[in-house]
């Protein structure tokens, strides 16, 4: 393979140059700044900062809640996408547009709205409270907020995949004697698996960084409901930029590892499922 491949389309040099410039400006330079900032403290300080029990607890809470929220979205987002693609019903366009609302709403507004609904005196909270279920100001509340903001990612990545799938394939499967379950597991699921994984990964990544909506509903108790971005904020509040960056670097590294893993699984499933 030669380094420079000739292409029929002109303009490769210009567009590639632009891509690199744009990515550097928007993504790489700020990330490099983050790394540099965290490098201003010694390795021991870095280690002490990221292994503090409060920090470790918040990593567990953030990653745990994000994982749960992304999984919930993977299941129910699939159902939503399926309904929106396969059926037509009055008001479908409105329902379709509603899926995007969590994208468009300022996250603080979502957080306050969710807290208002799930607080013990809220519309839903008042029915759950007598059952002993507390949502607002618990870890469950964090999951609810993260599920809310992650939903569009799953639905929007699944929709095109489902649209690409011909109904005839399902009919063929049925006519060859497959049961409904078999059709879903053997025919439909493998085809949409890559898209589902992408949606899951996006929802998960989005949840890891979410701050605005969670701080309102979580109660922010150290060791119990304190998320990583909040802890970073408290470090900044003490003008401790370096340790804040250290915590961020670890969180970023972990999310990158998770996303990379999902991408590898996806690549693998594409290669061997086909």
């Amino acid at each position: 393979m030669t380094l420079k491949q000739h292409s029929i389309l002109p303009g490769f040099g210009l567009t590639m140059g632009f891509t690199l410039f744009y990515l550097s400006l928007i993504v790489l330079i700020p990330l490099a700044g983050l790394l540099l900032k965290s490098a201003t403290i010694s390795w021991d300080q870095f280690y002490a900062a990221v292994t503090d029990p409060q920090v470790v607890a918040s990593y567990k809470i953030t990653f745990g809640a994000s994982l749960v929220a992304a999984s919930v979205n993977a299941v129910f987002g699939l159902a939503v996408a399926w309904v929106l693609v396969r059926y037509s019903f009055p008001g479908k366009n409105i329902v379709d547009a509603m899926v995007d609302l969590p994208f468009a709403m300022p996250t603080a507004v979502s957080g306050i709205a969710l807290t208002a609904i799930y607080a013990p005196n809220g519309w839903i909270g008042r029915w759950l409270d007598p059952l002993g279920i507390e949502v607002a100001y618990t870890q469950l509340g964090i999951m609810v907020a993260l599920t809310f903001i992650g939903l569009p990612f799953v639905v929007r990545t699944l929709q095109p995949a489902l649209e690409d799938m011909d109904v005839e394939i399902e009919e063929a499967a049925a006519s060859l004697g497959a049961t409904r379950l078999q059709t879903f597991v053997r025919v439909i699921f493998p085809a949409i698996m890559p898209a589902l994984l992408t949606g899951f990964a996006l929802a998960f990544a989005r949840a890891l960084g979410e701050y605005g909506s969670v701080v309102f509903i979580s109660g922010n108790l150290p060791m119990k409901t304190q998320i990583v971005p909040l802890l970073i904020m408290t470090k900044l509040e003490q003008y401790n930029y370096a340790e804040a960056a250290a915590i961020a670097v670890v969180a970023l590294g972990a999310s990158f590892a998770v996303l990379l893993f999902i991408n590898i699984v996806q690549w693998w499933s594409r290669r061997y499922a086909a």
């Binding site: 807290t115 108790l221 060791m223």
Partner: protein
């Protein structure tokens, strides 16, 4: 959906034009008779400065003939200080505590070391204190700090790590216990009673720890806590700035909440300062200084009292405002904790007393 090429090109051009327009809008206008200053403040001063800016602009127009435009920025006090450190061009800052103003000096060197003595009263033209907001009729019978740790009482306060206001709450509770143990706070500075002081501090630590065990929600800021208490109906008592407590009652009706004033509390001194380096660069030093001085005039003090801040000088402030403020014994951060820098390092920094409360 696939965009047709010319539609895509159109969208692209619109994006470029709007960037150009936006960038152009950011440029400063340079009318010699118009002067602009930016006041970077914290959250609950919104209403106060909205009115004060109008009044001062008239005053300044009479005095100098210039039209003054005061722009405001509000947010959590610590976050605002950080913005100024990171380059927000504030001509004056009016923050919740001296520690935040001092951080601007320490981290960015934008003002001299003696900033706090350049204006009267520690550079704090109005004060407030920490009081309790309880539900109407005070069903839990909360009268003083020690009632907060009665079984089943649920307390709402913001997180002292993220909220300047919450640090006052915490220190007020600590000071109450010292006063109860020592009888007289002046013993703190008497070397002879060092043992008693150490014992009292131990007691105070236990007491504050117990209070935080009664806290179910630690919001990041004072307004968040007020909302949790008032709108979500969580908790029996909210530890709040007096001005915030008055505002909640004023806005939500006195039939729902009442204020309980404890036996002793802390003198909260929101500090103001000219940001010298920025004001000099902008050529706004004169107006910035006059702006802060005017807060001490009877007009400024009246407005502070109107918006539920305790004025420093009651002279010329109408009686109807003054009678709002009940007499309460107040101590300062300096006399009990030896100043903000010390209190911050001992109590609120990482590994400090507050973190120990939450150690597993």
């Amino acid at each position: 959906m696939i965009l047709r090429p010319f539609v895509a090109f159109g969208l692209f051009s619109i994006a470029l034009v709007s960037i150009a327009v936006f960038a152009g809008g950011c440029r400063r206008s340079s009318d010699p008779n118009a002067v602009k200053i930016l006041n970077v403040s914290y959250d609950p001063t919104r209403e106060l400065y909205e009115e004060f800016n109008r009044v001062f602009a008239e005053h300044w127009a009479r005095q100098s003939g210039q039209t003054l435009d005061v722009r405001m920025s509000h947010g959590g006090s610590g976050k605002q200080a950080r913005s100024v450190i990171d380059g927000l061009e504030a001509d004056v800052v009016t923050l919740a505590l001296a520690y935040d103003v001092d951080a601007i000096r320490r981290k960015a060197g934008l003002m001299p070391k003696d900033w706090q003595s350049r204006l009267p009263n520690n550079s704090a033209p109005y004060t407030s204190t920490i009081v309790f907001l309880v539900r109407k009729g005070n069903p839990r019978g909360i009268k003083d700090w020690n009632d907060l740790v009665k079984p089943d009482v649920s307390v709402i306060t913001p997180n002292p790590k993220t909220s300047g206001g919450a640090r006052w709450n915490y220190l007020a509770a600590w000071g109450y216990m010292l006063k109860r143990e020592l009888g007289d706070l002046s013993k703190l500075h008497d070397p002879k009673s060092a043992d008693a002081v150490a014992k009292a501090n131990e007691k105070a630590k236990e007491f504050v720890k117990e209070i935080f065990q009664h806290v179910k929600v630690l919001d990041t800021g004072a307004r968040g806590s007020t909302m949790t208490f008032v709108q979500r109906g969580i908790g029996d008592v909210l530890l709040a700035w007096e001005n915030e407590a008055f505002l909640s009652i004023h806005e939500l009706g006195p039939d729902k909440f009442e204020i309980v004033v404890p036996s002793i509390s802390i003198l909260a001194e929101p500090s103001v300062a000219v940001v010298d380096k920025v004001a000099e660069r902008h050529g706004t030093r004169a107006v910035a200084e006059a702006y802060l001085k005017h807060l001490y005039s009877s007009e400024g003090q009246t407005l502070a009292a109107k918006h539920y801040y305790r004025p420093r000088n009651a002279e010329g402030v109408p009686e109807e405002y003054m009678k709002r403020f009940p007499k309460v014994k107040l101590f300062t951060v300096r006399e009990v904790f030896g100043g903000w820098e010390k209190a911050q390092a001992e109590h609120f920094n990482d590994g400090g007393v507050f973190d120990q409360i939450y150690k597993p």
